[in-house]
Amino acid sequence: MRARGRRLFNRSLGGNMLIYSFLMLLGVIMVLPMVYAVSSAFKPLNEMWIFPPRFFVQNPTGDNFSSLFGALGESYVPFTRYLFNTVCISVIGTAGHVVISSLCAYPLAKHRFIGSKVIFHMIVMSLMFTSVATGLANYLILSKLGWIDSYLAILIPGFGGSLGLYLMKQFMESNVPDSILESARIDGAAEWRIFWRIVMPIVKPAWLTLIIFSFNGFWSMGGNAYIYNENLKTLNYAISQIVSGGLARAGAGAAASVLMMIPPILIFVITQSNIVETMASSGMKE
């Protein structure tokens, strides 16, 4: 990685040009709906339904945002409570998921013991059983535990998601050389120390990536069958209630989808710039 600035091998100018134009074209398609979403958020109501439809806003206005906050202000539970719930769930859920699944991924990737293969296969297989069919059983288990109507019903099952474990295990397997672990053990380091001081720093790109989509998942969580108390519901749920208020709320809906995008994007930018830094500064790997 030290050679980041040096020229790449095996590259031709023509090939580069082709690649850049391909990326540009594809990038425009990917980002077009985003641009539209932002542009719509600033459209006055009469511009949303004109014919012929216009892509870009003509007379930008902040009305949609004030109507959104107006509607949120009238709700039975204060808007800040929804925000608090969502932030709590997203932050605690993501942190717990990353730590707990990384802890489990380490022995699965780097130790060999009775049951290691079976356990890993079961976790990967569980990704393929759709959660739609397991909802009922999940509900029964949560109610037996008395966790219905509490954060626990969302957080604890969220900690044990299979996706994060799978990602961490794959990265640990391919990126952490056995020789480093071996020499640390010879130096007398305990497994706990090896995990935090050696393994986790090496797979930093993996857990930064996991933070991105774990946060994204928790953040966009709407209403579900386990939470009935209005005080514990999420921001996304509150907003979907407002947006379902029909055509008159279309503007507020557009404003809401833009605002809801901001935190995941911020998390993305922060973690991605960290990935780049790790890569530039570490001469890791044997």
Partner: protein, 309 residues
């Protein structure tokens, strides 16, 4: 010593209890995750699997019916057969295409300088971050004259009456495929990006000296073999995404779609599990879907093992 990879023969000769005790640190690391996994993932999956052999309407106790649900699925349920056809059609197109798109874009982005790379990654990952912004495709292809494409075509005089993109079975499938592809740069894509960045540049330098001529050879003989674990992860993401397609389709073309033109296995499951509350039957559908995904995972694994040869 925890690591038994050094001398497995010696390790295997030791009694089981001693080995379990010797590996206690490993089990200790896994304890928090596994306890959650067993209670909230394994147990519900097992329950659902067992329910697939029963008649269960949520109100009465489940009644054991053997393979009846499965037999009914394949012999009496015509809509399910349509769902299977649609699901395979969708999955076989969007799965591989989305996978290759993720990999290609990740690989191309990796050549950019770090700042530009982070920005480009964001642009391509944006559809996954954006929640329900994909509904904008619904607006673009909306069947009335306020749909952008219809409005444009009407204005230019190409068509006289608007085209029912979201209702006409002829257009539904391509529309759904397009939007699924647009959404396909998700978790797999990010793991490719992170995997590519973890490859040490020394390998490329060595490969160039060893006579690798162009970027294709470099990709096939150096890059891909070094990111096999990520490729496998991405494949599982693509498989579960492609066969589990459902929610996006309902949002775009309604549920049920006109003439069941885009009715997938997930829709069928939703129908019986969420609307009719025939949980036994729904569980049989889920188990069948699971079997399909397992088989495709097996097939993909085989293909991936050929990389670099």
């Amino acid at each position: 010593m925890l690591n038994r990879k050094k001398d497995p023969a010696v390790a295997l000769r030791r009694p089981v209890l001693k080995r379990l005790w010797g590996d206690r640190a490993s089990y200790f690391f896994m304890l928090p995750y596994l306890s959650i996994f067993v209670v909230f993932t394994m147990l519900p999956v097992l329950v659902s699997f067992l329910l697939s052999f029963t008649y269960f309407n949520v109100l009465q106790m489940p009644r054991f019916v053997g393979f009846q649900n499965y037999i009914k699925l394949f012999t009496q349920d015509e809509i399910f057969l349509i769902a299977i056809k649609n699901t395979f059609y969708l999955a076989l197109v969007t799965g591989p295409a989305g996978y290759l798109l993720s990999l290609t874009v990740a690989w191309l982005i990796n050549e950019l300088n770090p700042k530009l790379r982070a920005f480009t990654t964001l642009i391509f990952y944006a559809p996954s971050i954006s929640g329900n912004v994909f509904m904008i495709w619904g607006v673009m292809f909306s069947g009335d004259s306020h749909g952008y494409l219809n409005g444009l075509l009407l204005n230019m005089g190409v068509i006289k009456t608007s085209i029912q993109f979201t209702n006409n079975p002829k257009y539904i499938m391509p529309l759904v495929m397009g939007v699924s592809l647009w959404l396909s740069l998700g978790a797999g894509f990010l793991s490719f990006i992170a995997g590519l960045q973890g490859i040490d540049r020394q390998y490329y330098e060595a490969a160039a000296i060893d006579g690798i001529r162009n970027r294709w050879q470099e990709l096939w003989f150096v890059t891909l073999p070094l990111m096999k674990e990520q490729l496998m992860f991405g494949a599982v993401m693509s498989i579960t995404g492609a066969f589990g397609i459902g929610g996006v389709v309902s949002a775009l073309v309604g549920f049920p779609s006109t003439g069941y033109a885009a009715h997938t296995i997930m829709h069928h499951l939703e129908d019986y599990g969420g609307i009719r509350f025939e949980m036994g039957y729904a569980s049989a559908i889920a188990t069948f879907l699971f079997a399909i995904m397992m088989l495709s995972n097996h097939a993909v694994k085989k293909q991936l093992s050929k990389i670099g040869r």
